[in-house]
């Protein structure tokens, strides 16, 4: 855990100006995304892009060679750089040889990554960024806040101040005049400068073409006006042909901004040429006379060589993963510390900048899968973060506390139960009238700053389920109930509701007594050994009784059982086979009830309004969001949708321990959306979400009730 990062997180959360800017940004991008996804088959397009990127990265050495040949033939001076120093030296040397005093630059994350502008400025060369947002952060001496919108965190007053300083006259902070001033100031830069630097969004191997996208038009001007040009291109941008470039174009702007295409898309192949004068062919045109392309590695080949992280090279830098990230929405990009933000930034930071920082950043990920669900290149970002954590654990071991919690306790169900019983005794002085813990003593008090915890129940679910050890003979289908830890130890009554409900539906439910924790806390912390041991135990426990279905009330557990057990056991064929068989039988409770027919067994008679919170793992992990809603309505309730019903509630397991304030801020956004519906009941379908939401509402003394869908349908609430 990093004290430095936690301090930066607190600062960001306490910055009201920043928080207001972030709310505006989140609202705008949400609207943009809805617009951008209209009328396309996103899944088909992103699968296509994923395949093309995978192929390109697989064949990268050949593509680099092909690109170099074709670009050289078209008059480009091409070079390759292994690291930041080599790129910076090359460009500085070129500028010095040509006597360059003033450079204009269009936005490029790679040049930020390698610190090119600072390098040139230290040598006394004036470098003007020309993307308005990038220009603002340049003048502020800051790093970009967002891959696509570097200055999303700035107010007009702050921007006006920067330009007042720059231009030496009082600049209005009214939006329109301010924009006119910024435009005018950049216009002068274009006319004065004698060299241009750009990046590239795509490079096409078969023609030696670079593709540069800007909405503002600055890229179009920068890449044409100056006779001396350099394009700094990451090797992962190279793709085979024009149709590959189209696959990127179809999704890039739609994903991030919400428009069908970026306003200016420039395909540049080599240097140009004008016509003839007085019968003599001119040797150049009005674009670059000299075009240098520097192909940059800087850690990319290392990423390519690692099976675990190769996928991160598919990133097209659209920034949509940041737009939907609940952590980013609380912090903005500066908190991440280097150049790349959010989940993908956590991975890139490890390879391009600083592994220690990357490890700290990885602790902020809540695993809500929002980024994965929108990534146009189909990158499993939360999966990469989990692999990053596992790598750190492999190299440096688990911290002592986690080693004890996972390896010694969680791994062994009997020890876990003993620990729970012991804690249940210790908790007594802290329980309030609702059997909630409103305040833990120091040094654990930080946990209860934003949520109250449910008291642990000494009458554990397993003991209550002794009578349900095997399915009733002769009845079908046989349904094994996998309860998960939250139900077992905090909400055993909910577990009993589930059994009653299933009986009312006429199935044969039973409770395999040997079940253990699904291992998610250990797995997502990078402790794969504990996760595998628990997977083995559960596979065996849940195969007993040969169930037709295995149901869960915690989608986090369901994702482990259904998706991660097969992954964890992939190197052990027999076990893997069992894991796959089990996987096919796993259902979320509402999914099974919907499959069995949605006829409600208990129907409410009162005209009651409720709202519904989509658990992350249920909606994005299992793709279930319609079923619970239908069940709620079939049971006679009126469903009032909240804003962002599928935004994370902020329950992040380990993240809560490392960054309680961050989880708290995400929770408060969720509670605000719940309260805004005006209903007095929020239904959800995940016991971890129940814990988080109940804890947050109890802390606020809110009268709003949180009900698990099992409780609602069983009539127990």
């Amino acid at each position: 855990m990093s004290g430095k990062l936690r301090k930066q997180v607190r600062q960001a959360l306490a910055d009201e100006t920043l928080q207001a800017a972030l709310s505006r940004f989140t609202m705008l991008t949400k609207f943009g995304r809805q617009m951008g996804m209209t009328g396309i088959d996103f899944e088909a397009l992103r699968q296509d892009l994923h395949k093309r990127k995978a192929r390109a990265i697989d064949n990268l050495p050949t593509l680099i060679k092909e690109f170099k040949e074709n670009a050289s033939a078209a008059g480009v001076v091409i070079s390759e750089a292994e690291n930041a120093g080599q790129v910076n030296d090359y460009i500085a040397g070129l500028a010095r040889r040509r006597g360059i005093r003033h450079i204009i630059k269009s936005k490029s994350m790679l040049t930020e990554e390698i610190g090119l502008r600072h390098h040139l400025e230290h040598l006394g060369i004036r470098v003007d960024e020309t993307d308005i947002g990038e220009r603002i952060v340049q003048l502020a001496g800051e790093k970009p806040a967002h891959i696509v919108g570097p200055a999303i965190h700035k107010t007009t007053e702050q921007i006006a101040f920067l330009f007042t300083e720059l231009l030496g006259e009082q600049i209005s902070s009214e939006s329109q005049p301010l924009l006119d001033t910024v435009r005018g100031s950049l216009r002068q830069s274009y006319l004065d400068a004698d060299m241009g630097i750009s990046g590239a969004n795509i490079a096409i191997a078969e023609t030696g073409t670079i593709v540069i996208l800007t909405n503002e038009g600055n890229g179009q001007i920068v890449t044409t006006l100056s006779p001396l040009q350099v394009a700094v291109v990451g090797i992962e941008k190279i793709m085979p042909g024009f149709e590959d470039a189209n696959a990127v174009l179809r999704l890039l702007s739609r994903s991030c901004v919400g428009t069908k295409m970026t306003v200016y898309t420039s395909f540049i192949t080599g240097t140009g040429r004008a016509g003839a004068i007085s019968g003599t062919q001119l040797s150049g045109g009005q674009g670059p006379r000299e075009l240098h392309i520097v192909l940059v590695d800087n850690g990319r080949n290392r990423m390519r060589d690692s099976d675990d992280f190769r996928e991160a090279l598919y990133c097209i830098k659209c920034g949509v993963c940041l737009n939907v990230c609940p952590v980013f929405a609380s912090l903005s990009g500066q908190t991440y510390g280097h150049v790349y933000q959010g989940g993908i930034g956590t991975i890139l930071t490890a390879f391009y900048h600083d592994r220690k920082r990357s490890r700290d950043l990885s602790e902020m990920c809540l695993g809500c899968m929002s980024c994965k669900s929108v990534c146009p290149a189909g990158i499993d970002i939360p999966g990469l973060i989990r692999k990053m954590r596992a790598q750190h654990v492999r190299e440096q071991g688990l911290p002592a506390g986690k080693r004890l919690a996972y390896g010694t306790i969680l791994k062994h169900p009997s020890r876990l139960e003993s620990a729970v019983r012991a804690c249940a005794k210790l908790q007594e002085p802290f329980l309030d009238a609702d059997s909630m813990i409103n305040r833990l003593p120091y040094p654990l008090s930080f946990i209860t700053d934003t949520i109250s915890l449910p008291g642990l129940n000494t009458n554990l679910l397993r003991s209550r389920m002794i009578g349900y050890a095997s399915p009733a003979p002769g009845k079908a289908p046989k349904v094994a109930f996998y309860s998960g830890c939250v139900t077992s130890f905090a909400y055993p009554g909910l577990g009993e509701d589930v059994m009653r409900l299933l009986e009312k539906y006429g199935v044969a439910p039973y409770y395999p007594q040997e079940q253990a924790c699904c291992g998610a806390p250990a797995y997502f912390s990078g402790d794969s050994d504990t996760a595998l041991a628990l997977a083995m135990r559960n596979i065996q426990a849940l195969s007993s009784g040969d169930p037709d279905y295995i149901i869960t009330v915690c989608p986090g557990c369901a994702v482990m059982l259904k998706q991660e057990f097969p992954n964890l056991t992939s190197s052990q064929p027999v076990l893997h086979e069992s894991a796959l068989r089990l996987s096919g039988r796993v259902r979320d409770l509402s999914q099974l009830l919907a499959e069995l027919g949605t006829k409600p067994v208990v129907k409410t008679s009162e005209e009651k309004k409720v709202t519904y919170h989509d658990p992350c793992h249920l909606k994005r992990g299992l793709g279930i969001f319609d079923e619970p809603r239908k069940l709620i309505e079939a049971a006679g309730y009126r469903l009032v949708e909240m804003n962002d019903s599928d935004a994370c509630c902020g329950f992040g397991g380990d993240t809560l321990l490392a960054h309680p304030e961050l989880c708290g801020s995400i929770l408060q956004r969720k509670l605000g959306n719940i309260e805004a519906t005006g209903t007095d009941t929020v239904v959800t379908a995940c016991t971890a979400c129940v814990l988080q939401l109940r804890g947050g509402l109890h802390k606020k003394n809110s009268p709003i009730k949180v009900v698990h869908i099992a409780e609602l349908l069983a009539g127990q609430h």
């Binding site: 503002e216 420039s266 004068i277 007085s278």
Partner: protein
Amino acid sequence: MSDKIELLERFKTEAALSGAQVTLASSADQAVDFVLGLVKDKGITTAVKSASPIAERLDLAARLTKAGVKVMETSIAQWAAGLARGKDVPMDKLAELISAVSGEKVPPEPEAILRVARRIMKDMYAGAGLGITEADFGIAETGTLVTLENEGNARLAAALPRLHLTLLDGTHIASSLADAAELIKGSSGGIPGHKLPTFITYLTGRNTTADIPGAIFARAQGPAEEYILILKA
């Protein structure tokens, strides 16, 4: 034929949705009237233009000049031809003509002429009220204009003036990005070693920025308005 009409309709709709102002002209007179109306409305006194068969057909430069708009060609060859009043002049004579407009003594060498021409052009683009270019074709799927060139003057005439007008032949519409790629692959641009023309520019809608709070979808650094004039046949 109905396919063509459908493509044109789709192009118009998408381009308008992206923020361009689209006009369809069914005759040469209508087209000229539109441009003359535009320059009058917007108080345009100077225009820069790149090579355009449609503008030739409409005799647009002459009509604008007659309406009091100073029209400057931006391809260096055409600009030089203009200085020489269309006559074939030797290099030293051309250098003298350029010296007269540039205010510096230009030696009669192609490199020097190119350098000075670029400097003069730069000011022309930045000072012009209107840039007039012709797109090679449009893309119906996205409302995008595609312009192919080697010199780079068309993309500067499209980006730097206060307003920009693109002329487009209504029969030159590709249906999708994929179709556009096929069309482009067929054109090498004619420079040895180049598999494509130097600059292929896709322009979709009007330039925007969201970097200044309160000015969302505002004009960024290109023209304040994008006009598209489509000639029906």
